[in-house]
Amino acid sequence: MKAFRQIVLREWRSLSKEAGVAMLLLAGPLVFALVVGAVYSPKRVTGLPVTIVDQDSSALSRDLIRSLLATEPFVLGYYAESPEQFRYLSAEGRSHICFVFPRHFERDIKAGRGAKVAVLVDASNLLAANIAVTAAGTVLASYSIGAQIQSLERRGMAPSIAGRAAVPVIQETRTLFNPAFNSNYANFMVLGLVAVSVQLVSLLGPIQAGAREFGGGSAELQGLSRNLFVIAAAKSAAYVAILWPVCWLTMHVPQWWLGLPVKGSEWLLAALTLWFVTNMVMLSIAISALSKDALLASEVCAVITMPNFLISGFTWPVFAMPGRLAAAAYLLPMNPFVFAVRKIAQMGAGVGDLTPELLLLVGWSALAGTLALAGAYVLRRDGEPGKAHA
């Protein structure tokens, strides 16, 4: 136990001498969470500029235009003469959706012939396009139903019967886990992005823990303990003790600032963060000791981390990836963590709902632990009298 404590204290002393790296790693995740949180803080895409091409200029088309512009994501951008103008406006980023009301729009509807509203969408940004199309579809569908009911009433049908006849099948949609759904991207994205910074800082924080021992330090380390388990555990504990509170705090910035809900157990979330941070710290110490070079080890960590979020399945689902990549995505260290976090925070999941994620975390613990022991072995061998540099 004494050796364990001495190694922990020694590790902290070394870290305090690398003030720049330590400051960056402590403040970096919080700045990360604040910037990402600020970007998504409006939670909704609003102010989408709309182009209107009203070739009918009738009371009905004007009424429908008013309904569209009263819908939350839309603001009036331009009135245009033809749809061709919209192409230029969208290429210049001045408008993202265009509604074209053809000539005789009102006349055709009143004559019972039906009319078409052309909706041109700038789909180069799918996210904005999805929001625009959903909002436009909702307004046009409800307006269409209103027009049907009026038409049936004109034929002498009682209002209550006309309502039922116009909509024979009602769709009642209930969105679970993210009630504001399409309009709330903060709930969807922020926690996952913050998890990226948790992984990054847990990998980069201890990146010198192994490499700095070569050239003399390993002999001193061996003087404290020759037990591989004690060396690996003490070194890991020194970093986990610092990184876990930072990561826990970082995970809670979006909750406190943006009011993002954590429906599940806070304790479970904290325990899971601790587990993930420990896995990453052990992995980092192993990479650092095995590569013997902190810069090279950092580059290895960068390769692990950079694409991790995109192929973790957090945004683009794993089942939509090609076979081999899907398997690789499941095996990434961040995958079980982000999914468990999402399940706990958004779905209110308990331990029983997290079986696949927990199994993957156990697998990663076994792997990272074994590698950390291998790293400790390399350090011990380097510190042996014949090989010591000091």
């Binding site: 995740p29 990402v36 409006p42 078409k116 027009a147």
Partner: protein
């Protein structure tokens, strides 16, 4: 041989013989281009598993189930007996939506009452949720029209008239620039540009940090020359190495993964050239601030994701709060990703891109100043010797 040529050759040799930099600057862009291309290869989320709870077991409910499962975007996870089955399945990631067709669905419709269909959606992934909402709503809307039209026809109305009456206002949605709503077309080029930014900055920062060693400083002092000569030689050497890799990497999604490119490649390459040069200089500037290769690498890694989010490539800049909108507008990544998307998907020319080009060109003197400061700080070169 002029001093500039000696410095250029020295830098090129150092870059090509340092395995670390070669891997970062040359292999990095290809690795990310292939990886991201592979992820988004399919382009659309299809066959999303759903649960159907058919409590009516009627001809009409079976028809509706068949119509739902005929959609290419939906697939059957299982037929459930109640919504509890779905709640269980969704937490395990086995299903993302549940359609409940209640008892007496058919009877109600045939009697002129409204049949209700409940749709439960897992909204935790908006991307999947969006596809589900659109697909399920489209099937039910079509079914609604089908259910209404025969009744009108029975009343002596013609088929065309019945169809028009059932849906008096039709929205004909035409997505421009990305008609198939292919996710890969939307995101791939932007991701590769982000990866390029990252590898160029990291490579440049590490290479300058290596010049901060006493041996390198002594060698530079021996060669002599003004710090600006050294800066231009270093940038030229790094650009000579990096630009061909950047051009090939950015073309990969278009040539290999089939993304459409409607604009002019020369314009795209010209923009990429300015961007890469700016990023090399920014890498030197970051190295000057951090002083060590390790700290530079950590700083660049930590701020890469916020920079991507800030660029407005996915979450649009106009939906950000005011001060972040300004910040987003100031960073070069915003303008390069935006320009690339417009050139590739919209076929935009230089005249449509002047705001992006103006910001990018304004970054050139800024980054030269920053890079020059970083180089002087790292190499301790102050005057011509």
């Amino acid at each position: 041989m002029s001093i500039w040529k000696r410095l250029f050759r020295r830098e090129l040799k150092r870059l090509l013989t340092d395995r670390r930099i070669v891997v970062i600057m040359l292999a990095g862009p290809f690795f990310y281009a292939f990886l991201f291309g592979g992820v988004y290869w399919q382009g659309r989320v299809r066959e999303i598993p759903i649960v159907i709870v058919d409590q009516d077991h009627s001809e009409m409910s079976r028809d509706l189930s068949r119509a739902l499962l005929a959609s290419e975007n939906l697939s059957l996870a299982f037929f459930g007996t109640s919504t509890a089955d779905f709640f269980e399945a969704t937490k395990r990631g086995r299903a993302y939506a549940c359609v409940v067709i209640p008892k007496d669905f058919q009877r109600d419709i045939l009697r002129g009452r409204q049949g209700r269909v409940a749709v439960l959606l897992d909204g935790s992934n908006i991307l999947i949720g969006n596809v589900l909402t659109r697909s399920i709503s489209a099937v039910i809307a079509a079914y609604r029209t089908e259910a209404r039209a025969p009744r009108l026809m029975a009343g002596g109305v013609s088929r065309a008239r019945a169809a028009a009456s059932a849906a008096p206002i039709q929205a004909v949605v035409r997505p421009l620039f990305n008609p198939a709503s292919h996710y890969g077309y939307f995101i791939l080029a932007g991701l590769i540009i982000v990866a390029l930014q990252q590898v160029v900055r990291i490579g440049a920062a590490i290479s300058l940090s290596l010049d901060a060693g006493s041996a390198a400083r002594a060698e530079l002092a021996r060669i002599g020359g003004h710090p600006m000569t050294l800066l231009t030689a270093k940038v030229a050497a790094a650009a000579a190495l990096m630009l061909p890799a950047a051009f090939v990497a950015i073309r990969l999604p278009f040539d290999l993964f089939g993304s459409p490119f409607r604009g002019n490649w020369l314009l795209a390459f010209a923009i990429l050239t300015v961007f890469v040069i700016v990023q090399i200089l920014v890498g030197y500037g970051v190295s000057g601030i951090c002083r060590s290769a390790l700290l530079s690498l950590h700083a660049l890694l930590l701020f890469s994701v916020p920079a991507f989010i800030l660029s407005g490539f996915t979450w649009p800049s106009y939906a950000m709060p005011g001060w972040l909108k300004t910040l987003s507008w100031l960073i070069p990544l915003t303008h390069v990703t935006d320009a690339f998307r417009k050139i590739a998907l919209m076929g935009a020319g230089a005249q449509s891109l002047w705001p992006q080009l103006a910001v990018l060109i304004a970054w050139l003197p800024l980054s030269v100043f920053w890079g020059y400061w970083g180089l002087k700080r790292q190499t301790a070169l102050h005057h011509a010797s």
